[in-house]
Amino acid sequence: MTPVGTTGEAAATEPGAPAPTARKSGPGELLTRLPDIAPLVLLLLALGIFFSIKSEFFLNYDNFLNILTAAAITGIIAAPATLLMVSGQVDLSVGSALTFCGVVMAYVADKQGIFLGIVAAVAAGLLVACINGTLVTVIGVNPLITTLATLAAFAGLARVIADGQTLPLNGFSTLGTSRPFFDIPLPVIIFAVVVIGFYVLMRYTVIGRSMYAIGANPVAARLTGLRTGRLIFIGFLLSGAFVALAALINVSQLSAASTQAGNGLELSVITAVVLGGASLAGGRGTIVGTLFGLLVIAVLNNGLTLLSVNSFWQDVARGTLLALAVSFDQLRLRLTRE
């Protein structure tokens, strides 16, 4: 090996000591060079192999579709949530907004027909989004607090409209249950289209780039001429629109609108997004990462169900996974900085 330093002084140091300009090597170097989602892909493979060995029902086409169907509703909401998180925002109201949209849909459809029900559900989603967007970008309230407020308010409002009951809705099952090609359920196809759409939006458009910039440094974003308020508002609108879509699918699958439909959904969404590598501080994160985050959670839940593990343990497993993932990410970030 040739010594890195050429002066006598540098050469005089002991052979093992790295010169100041030498590249870092060892596990630190390896960790920082891996693609961001590599650990997640490995984890998914490991889970797949483990459950394949443990359960004869895991590795087949139908179960594969089950997993994707289970991930679809969370996934359709997690895509705009990734965009928001990348811009340094978060939307906690998605769960109760889903409940609210579903209840509005069933309520209006019962009196005015399916079509107006759909229109009303979309309008309901956008209403929640406009309230969130206005409070955050015009008034300047912290997004966590804003959406915590709308989370509470719209969960309550949904119960008021439904009078605490589950509203039945018949004749609207196509969206949630039909299987147009290869036996693939329509929600899974919609999920795939949404993921691809957001991939393109975030990767290749001005809006996507701008959202990353806003999350990385909102002050600098404004000083480079980005209209930050407008863009964040668009982010919330997208979140509201896709929550409405997810609500329609949910109502269609159950042939009813439940006032419990969206309970805890915001936590599943944020878990998937953060597991996928998006930083809560903004500026970092990808749709592909979120997709793998969703898949890991869905596979874990599916596999544990197949092994007849109590569903309470599934929550424990998901929480543990999230804690491990963010710790790993933090560790890696520290290594990159050094």
Binding site: Y204, T205, V206, I207, R209, S210, Y212, A213, A216, N217, V219, A220, A221, R222, L223, T224, G225, L226, R227, S279, G283, R284, T336, R337
Partner: protein
């Protein structure tokens, strides 16, 4: 407390950082009942010296003698016990706590486990009376103007029985009126027997307030004696020393178009600057020189749509501009390099290519809203070479992994890619090391040679001398002087800014 007059002495202080000695055996006397003005350029060693006196740093050699007792090294705690207190330029108060709480900060009187609020208020009123100030002791300190927050800091030092008070450029952020009031307190403290060490850049203040003056240069005392013995020119010569001839002037620009690209027409922003008229023509570098708080940064910010004008107008390329926000200013052809690079300019967790392209995204898009990576990468290719950005030469490298000087070049390249006609730079080389500084100067000169009008707001006079074709000197929100090419000397700038 002793009845003998207070005396603080530093003897033979030496201090090195990382093998480089910044103080070479400095002596300093600060007797009670007198004001010592401490002058010197940035890097002359003033801060290091006073921090040793205040116990923040320990000297490598020498001693600090307080009240007859010698100390090889004071600690912040022991310095405080000896009555030495320092008021920092960046206020070290607790903005959400009240005036009274701040004055007793860290020494809250208690009865059992409970804080005695009546005692806290009583103490605060007592010390404020002593200073002759009327302040609401229950007001949160953050709601007060800077000048009054400084008074609260002084009151805090006094209530802690300070006998030697070190003031680090206390008037830098104060208005003329607030400065007068501060001088009143300084005189009152002097009469009460306090020793005052007063660090300043403003030469006019020396004659006004100081009894003695000491000038530090390159880690040694260049001049020391009664303040009345030295004129302004003596002080400047002592501060600048041998460096006068060493700063090289740029060559005159080859072609400057006569029509200004940026023009301030008697523009004012209330509370920041007043009645400012200036022209920047394509191809020239104009320096806006002044001290912190003189309004130079605010002028640049107004030209970038960050501060609405109260009166007057801004014209860009001969047309009156309506600048509501930075997006308007950028669309009109203006770029800004902010002073706080990391906080206001850089997307540290994003790639170099994205950082370069950000303001150009809308003009870079292909069909609809799409950006092609290829166009971003070609922008990177153009400026990586031209600006000599030292990196792994990978467009995807994160900006945060580049050195400060190279980050600054990337942010400069951002406006080159945007083809801005006017570039506003605020303190472009603050915190940038000497080597990279020269490269940034060269890049700025090349930019001007390419037809861009450059306005540099800076408080570093050497930067003005090395960079500017013309210099506009500002003091307390107004234009104090306008200097043409060969009038721009360190001597002249230092004189004009204080006057």
């Amino acid at each position: 407390m002793t009845s003998a007059p207070f005396l603080l002495q530093a003897r033979g202080i030496r201090k090195a950082f990382g093998g480089v000695e910044v103080l070479h055996g400095v002596d300093l006397d600060a007797p009670g009942g007198s004001v010592l003005a401490l002058l010197g350029e940035n890097g002359a060693g003033k801060s290091t010296l006073v921090k040793i006196v205040a116990g923040d740093y320990q000297p490598d050699q020498g001693e600090v003698i307080v009240g007859g007792a010698s100390h090889a090294a004071l600690t912040p705690l022991s310095a405080r016990e000896h009555g030495i207190r320092m008021i920092f330029q960046e206020l070290a108060d607790a903005p959400t706590l009240t005036v009274a709480e701040n004055i007793s900060l860290g020494r809250w009187p208690t009865r059992g486990p409970f804080v005695r609020w009546d005692e806290i208020r009583r103490r605060a009123r007592e010390v404020l009376d002593q200073l002759g100030v009327e302040l609401d002791v229950d007001a949160p300190v953050g709601t007060l103007p800077v000048g009054e927050r400084q008074i609260v800091e002084i009151a805090r030092a006094l209530s802690d029985r300070a006998r030697c008070l070190i003031l680090d450029e206390p008037t830098a952020a104060l208005s003329a009126q607030e400065t007068e009031r501060l001088f009143g307190f300084v005189r009152r403290l002097r009469e009460q027997g306090t020793a005052l060490i007063y660090i300043t850049h403003r030469l006019d203040e020396v004659a006004e307030i100081a009894d003695r003056v000491a000038v530090l240069r390159d880690g040694g005392v260049a001049l020391e004696g009664p303040a009345g013995d030295f004129g302004r020119a003596d002080l400047v010569a002592a501060m600048v020393g041998r460096d006068i001839g060493e700063v090289r002037r740029p060559a005159a620009p080859a072609s400057v178009s006569p029509a200004p690209v940026l023009r301030f027409d008697r523009a004012s922003v209330d509370g920041a600057f007043d009645d400012v008229a200036l022209d920047v023509r394509p191809g020239e570098v104009v320096a806006l020189y002044g001290k912190l708080g003189s309004g130079i940064a605010e002028v640049a910010e107004a030209a970038f749509g960050l501060r609405p004008l109260s009166r007057g107008a801004i014209e860009i390329a001969g047309r009156r501009a309506k600048l509501r926000d930075p997006a308007d200013a950028i669309a009109a052809g203006i770029g800004l390099l902010p002073a706080d690079r990391q906080r206001e300019g850089a997307f540290l967790v994003r790639s170099v290519a994205e950082n370069l392209a950000a303001p150009s995204w809308w003009s870079m898009r292909t069909k609809g809203l799409f950006i092609s990576d290829a166009r971003e990468a070609s922008a990177y290719g153009r400026w990586h070479e031209a600006l000599r950005i030292r990196s792994r030469n990978d467009p995807a490298q994160l900006l945060g992994t580049l050195s400060g000087g190279n980050q600054q070049k990337v942010l400069l390249g951002r406006w080159l890619e945007r083809r801005s006609r006017v570039l506003l730079l605020i303190e472009p080389t603050r915190g940038v090391d000497v080597g990279a500084r020269q490269e940034i100067y060269r890049a700025i000169r090349e930019l001007a040679a390419g037809g861009v009008g450059v306005l540099v707001a800076t408080s570093d006079y050497e930067e003005v001398v090395q960079l500017a074709d013309r210099a506009i000197v500002m003091a307390r929100g107004r234009v104090a002087a306008e200097l043409e090419a060969d009038q721009i000397t360190t001597q002249r700038l230092t004189e004009e800014v204080g006057g």
